[in-house]
Symmetry: D2
Subunit: 279 residues, 4 copies
């Protein structure tokens, strides 16, 4: 019996939980897990419920819920037996990619890596060893738009749910970001919103901070300003050069990106007002 995830984002109203749980009860569904959150300031209701049931009729469940909660709500029902698919974009650094690969080997990723695309071919060797296709799409001689278009052309031939920027060191143009709205996950190597943009470790070194961090976020067209999914930090001190900060930072970058990816793949992450609710 498959587990289904019911995701609801709705205007808040009295009795919502009652009405939804009544449907689960009437349809004889077992609740495996359940979380809700109400943003009272904005009067918004979020719910993530995992249910099982014999011969579960997904369409009926969707329509029953739809009828009993406010109009214009977002209702998504996901069959967890269908593995999600991701594409990974990289440049030259291996640690974030490698961390995802090893989780995939360990069997904890619960998704398939459809392809890795690099603007350099540095990591091709590592990726193809594991039987995963690697495509190099060099940016040399191309402007940002032209390069992005070539990647988009490649992506259109692939079937996937999310794009993971695993230390992909180039900015994606608006066209690209719009096309995969809320589906591109980036790791920024600073504790956002501090040190937006290039070389955050050098910025951190010059500012003399005592803690550095990393931030996984959805990509929007404002540089490093998208909804934050996960953050992590490590202590440093005056003995760290910025190169050493960079090296130490890799550990937190890879863990933060992998944790964020895992939450996204488990459908825990709701987006609104440029923020995330994680259930």
């Amino acid at each position: 019996m498959s587990i289904y995830r019911v995701l609801i984002k709705s205007k808040d109203e009295q009795g919502l939980v009652y009405r939804i749980s009544k449907i689960f009860s009437d349809m004889k569904l077992n609740i495996v897990s359940n979380s809700e959150f109400v943003d009272r300031e904005n009067s918004l209701f979020f719910m993530r419920t995992e249910v099982t049931g014999e011969n579960l009729d997904v369409e009926k469940l969707h329509s029953e819920i739809s009828k009993s909660i406010p109009q214009n709500s977002e209702i998504t029902i996901i069959d967890t037996s269908i593995r999600k698919k991701i594409v990974i974009l990289v440049t030259k650094e291996v640690h974030c990619l490698g961390d995802i690969l090893m989780r995939w080997i360990e069997g904890e990723l619960n998704s398939d890596i459809v392809e890795v695309i690099g603007n350099h071919s540095t990591l091709e060797n590592v990726v193809t060893k594991f039987g995963i296709p690697f495509t190099t799409i060099s940016h040399v001689g191309l402007d940002r738009e032209e390069h992005a278009k070539k990647i988009l052309e490649r992506l259109e031939k692939l079937e996937f749910d999310y794009i993971v920027l695993a230390k992909y060191m180039r900015i994606l143009p608006p066209l690209f970001v719009e096309k995969y709205r809320n589906r591109i996950i980036n790791i920024h190597h600073s504790f956002l919103p501090a040190f937006i943009g290039a070389n955050p470790y050098k910025q951190a070194y010059e500012r003399g901070v005592k803690i550095i961090g990393a931030t996984a976020h959805f990509v929007t067209n404002e540089l490093d300003e998208g909804p934050i999914i996960e953050q992590g930090v490590i202590d440093i001190d005056h003995t760290y050069s910025w190169k050493e900060m960079q090296k130490a930072g890799r550990d937190v970058e890879k863990i933060v990106l992998s944790k964020a990816l895992s939450k996204v793949l488990e459908d825990r992450v709701f987006i609104y007002n440029n923020k995330t609710v994680i259930l």
Copy 2:
């Protein structure tokens, strides 16, 4: 309009959330916050819901819930407009007591300190400055039982909800612990279950650990073995003597105890199987 907390601990069953939320809906209660947890291994259901409603009939709410969930469930309904009361037991160290006092002054404790009892009078001066009664009950010349009895006699004259051991450095005998079952909160100055018993910092120093911690737990008759409410840690290294560990440890002790106390006072802590569920 007062906020009421509805706390439920019950055998798990299909449709529980539906049945309970139906009652809230039928009685036209507003749900201010809601958390549930199901321990599937033991088939146990925990729920903490904050509701408001005009002319809320607590007895009726209790009886309606009682009728629609499994027998032998624990249902508690708490009027949050009634401030809780605590008694604090101390020996000589001020940091945990002081942290609680300052939160009380800041107005974030949401409870009243009925009295502080010390087996030394060292802290009397600090406590009485704030208009809080201090009673010294010396242990000198008494065995553990005799001393505990004298404290019990004093406690019987007071009205309170919880006893906080704020670095009270003596072991309470079974009689005492039984009488205030699940109502005594202790701070142990180690990362339990490591370093049970006396002088955990010295034990930690000798073992050469790189992280030390503190643990807030309910007191049971097994030394330092009660249900854990909150834990915290700090990094140390080889340069720390055990006295320096002790000093550094004070910060984590006081924060861990105060956080645990705050969760208990907000009725977030459920106890079962010598563990806690915190909703």
Copy 3:
């Protein structure tokens, strides 16, 4: 026998440690502790050594070191038997002040609190209970300069080493900052350089961060841009309103400020290039 702290900041050169340790050896001083740091990028040498010795001749020690290391070095020799003195500036919040007070009572502050000055009298009651003078210098009806001048007048009558801004919620004008250069320690309620300026918790809430922090730093004339001494963080999530972030943040604010103060009072903090070296 008193412990003396020898603090050296110098251009780096080959053989510095040898030359300095030769002096200690020649003068038959015992080295109690020793730390050095070389900033290779800027070719700067920092040293903090604690020594004891019978009939230690401080002037001779200073002049011997002075002769054997590069000109224009900064050499400071501190008699640790002389307790340092601090003045604390506050507004209305008690947690940072209270944390310092409790450490003072516990005997771990190793310094005296000369006076607390508030622009409100809210905390007078707490402070005077402990026999510490409190002066209210209201800002009402005064512009920033005028108000600062009145505080300066009061400070000129006091003898102290450092000024601690324990949630003093006003900006000090350049005149004030210049006068006590490198002697004013502030706690900023964010993880600098994120969320400079007013209401950082609200800024953090709106940005949807998953970790918040606090930063203790020396005050310069660039708002929240002075050399960072200490930082700390805590995890939060989408369930926190900005008021709850503020409440949770108090714990990290007070610990970070007290740790920074402790390092400053132990003469561990060297300042250069708007950064700190902590030995």
Copy 4:
């Protein structure tokens, strides 16, 4: 010009730093980095200095230091241009091994992986992809001693500095441990000394702890009692089954082991009294 590491462990005496730094100065060596530690309780002196110098005469340096410090001191001089070599022992889990492999690919390991030995062949496929030899030495049908002997036979054919137990799930017998004293690094999946022995996550789950951790330590003949090199922790709560703790714990296990390994390979770790000093 190669960098040499001078490691000294000696009885403490007045003037040690002076005498040693005099030798560096006389031999015209440049000090690249320097750390010392004195354990006053045991009157022990530890020093780690990195030096460079043209035509550095290692034997002369060793003998000069030897003559000027207490007898029976340990003096080790290491040429950092010679890469260290490690052998890794594994069972079935990939995360710790994979983390080391990825650091090796990233070029941050500064050492070579001579061979990976598994008691299962599960990870052979991953390892050999990277051109690293993998030997399976099955324990099936052998008692602990017999199995260990077969591994020892294989190890005797290899040249290496350290053995890394990357989730090698078997206990090594005394003979094995003695032979590679202070050269075997293990990762234990708990926050030692809590939960020694088998299945610490299950123990942690049953005890209801709120934080779990991992410990990297040198292996001795007392199970999980060797000198601790590095520890790390993560927060958990009542919602974690022990399987989920295990999964979450992998992140801290791999980071803690890799950090410990990095410190050992950089010759930062001194061992004494079953503890470590890390310079």
